[in-house]
Symmetry: C2
Subunit: 381 residues, 2 copies
């Protein structure tokens, strides 16, 4: 096992109606005013906004609002939030939504306390030294952002989708009520399932040191996600399946599956970020296209682990059968598995690879992931 | 899934020689003087004491010492530590050892800040409201105390082995260096394996709501412990097996396997505590005797889960075969599985049951675990 530090201080409050407790969870931090960050206005019609703000009022916590955060969250919206947070002197950021809202909130929490351009943190020009406390009420289970120190934002001008990581942006408290994810349509449920699986298999396949326990945790998450996704596509009302799906999503990227391993980056995420940056497709949809293509390209570099995956997840003996089974499962739940299905022509491969190769430099993965290598991978899709 | 709160702020620093970092981990808390709590004087001959104190010196942290903590840690020693901590005005407790040393340290951390008898917290007479910060350098992997808010202490006068739980006694930082567990003899390695398995299967079998993901986590821990124990009994030098064993021990009782479940107590621990309180046998040895007996007694109350266990862990179809397989595995690694093997005569069963029935009252389990029921269980052993 590789030496590691595991420290995840986020408090998870999980269950029905727990969003009503958010005020009581924020109050002990001495916060008197928050920036309430959200996506669509739907939360004002479906009652969530009222439940959350009622709990803030109850604790005497004031708020200002930043709505309109979209998926593949944009730097321009983040900068709008930073300006508002500074002007209004908020003491914390409260995210209500999915990963995009939370990632925007984390970035605002960092940017609100500095004078420099917040993008400097994404390109590694400046190190993150502090942030406003972040709180979250999740309405989507996918990114794991509710219990980690990552945030991903897209820069529309430069067409770059980059990420930051810092101990300072772990949410202090994240409320996870599986019932709030009911409004997620089936296609996004499928994309979320792909995203969760991607989070755990990136390390599972790329780590040169992979303890058995961590492999078993990854397999437990993949099995749980596949099982609960199939139940939810049939019956969106199944609370237990929603709860299993939501908790698996959190476990998938909270550091527990990679403790003691040495994953060599997130190649599938890296390549997918270029797809969503250039074509604005859903992150999970892009991953469903990239993953089987990447697995075919990478399989011989860790053959034993690919064999283990085929056996443990699908009960299959051959690596190729396992990769095909995963690809077929993505297709079965309604995710695209070829570029064409996302209306991306093969002629775009060079441009995508060019963009991803830039990310590879920032992520320190350019030794292996050259433009040429990324083109080879994308030609499998 | 049942509603839950998951919040585990302990920082784990895992790997070779990490004990040299303990001073640097304590310093940021502004601590200038600690009570260094340990068991045998061996740490002064094997170099561990020097590495730890050198790192304290480096950070300008002073210390006073409390050695001689024994397994099934005694209240009298804890009280000695509380008096010393108060007299010397220490600002934190540093445990160097296994679960017994850490549990004693946690209890001293609570007792040092109050005037009342610390046993009042164990019998539920007084609630824990604060504690000195606790730090740990582990030399044994078993109890999971390094990443939870539990402490178990034995009251020699009343022959009671009781526990406390509080958010205030989670260690701030726990150093886990698998190499420090090399000195553990094979019999104690076996007892530790039984203890770890016990920690996860108590909830696994008694929870009326048991999500698939949590069951899979438990099975992952049990498989990892069995696998690494067999490797270590053959080759104590196998670092990876030590690391897998140690991390599995921590995961087994840090709250992650029970999040979302509703275990109905720790019946095997409850009954075993009477064995070790009355006969001072090793906790893991007592558990190896109690568990198969309890499983036989309890199996029909959660038959499906017992079937799942037999299938997942041993590939067996019948519940009885699974229970026998676990019992045989305990025996195979050198743990006692009958009272006689611990030189406890059947005539003692009534006295053990009497003692355990008292604990059942304190643990709120007396509705099911009457003296008579506990006698029935022990007659299976």
């Amino acid at each position: 096992m590789v030496d590691f530090i595991y420290h995840n201080p986020t408090k998870i409050v999980f269950g029905k109606n727990k969003e009503s407790l958010i005020g009581a969870e924020i109050a002990p931090f001495g916060v008197k005013k928050v920036l309430l960050c959200y996506g669509s206005e739907r939360i004002k019609s479906d009652g969530l906004y009222k439940k959350v703000t009622d709990s803030l009022v109850k604790e005497g916590i004031a708020w200002v609002e930043l709505g309109g955060v979209v998926s593949n969250p944009k730097l321009s919206k983040v900068k709008e939030g930073i300006a508002l947070a500074q002007k209004e002197h908020v003491e914390a950021i409260l995210a209500i939504g999915g990963g995009s809202v939370l990632d925007s909130s984390k970035t605002i929490a960092v940017g609100a306390l500095v004078k420099n351009d917040v993008w400097d943190f994404f390109i590694g020009k400046v190190a993150i030294e502090k942030a406003l406390p972040v709180f979250a009420v999740m309405t989507l289970a996918a990114t794991g952002s509710e219990m980690n120190g990552f945030a991903v934002v897209s820069n529309e001008e430069t067409k770059q989708k980059y990420s930051i990581h810092s101990e300072h942006i772990y949410p202090k408290v994240s409320i996870l009520n599986p019932e709030l994810t009911k409004s997620v349509p089936n296609d996004y449920l499928a994309y979320s399932a792909v995203d969760i699986i991607a989070h755990v298999i990136e390390g599972y396949f790329t780590a040169s040191t992979q303890p058995h326990f961590q492999s078993r945790m990854v397999e437990s998450i993949v099995k749980t996600v596949m099982e609960s996704t199939e139940i939810l596509l049939q019956n969106p009302e199944d609370y237990n399946a929603r709860a299993e799906f939501m908790w698996a999503a959190t476990q998938a990227l909270n550091g527990s599956t990679t403790a003691g391993t040495n994953p060599s980056g997130f190649p599938n995420h890296m390549i997918e970020h270029s797809l969503s940056a250039l074509f604005n497709i859903a992150h999970g949809a892009g991953l469903a296209i990239v993953i089987p293509a990447w697995m075919q390209w990478f399989k011989n570099q860790n053959h034993a682990q690919f064999e283990r995956f085929s056996k443990e997840i699908f009960g299959l003996d051959s690596v190729d059968e396992g990769i095909l089974a995963l690809k077929n499962w993505f297709a079965k739940i309604g995710a695209p598995v070829h570029l064409e299905e996302a209306s991306i022509s093969k002629n775009e491969i060079s441009a995508i690879a060019e963009n991803a190769a830039q990310t590879a430099v920032v992520w320190g993965m350019n030794a292996v992931y050259t433009k040429h290598a990324i083109e080879d991978i994308l030609h499998n899709a």
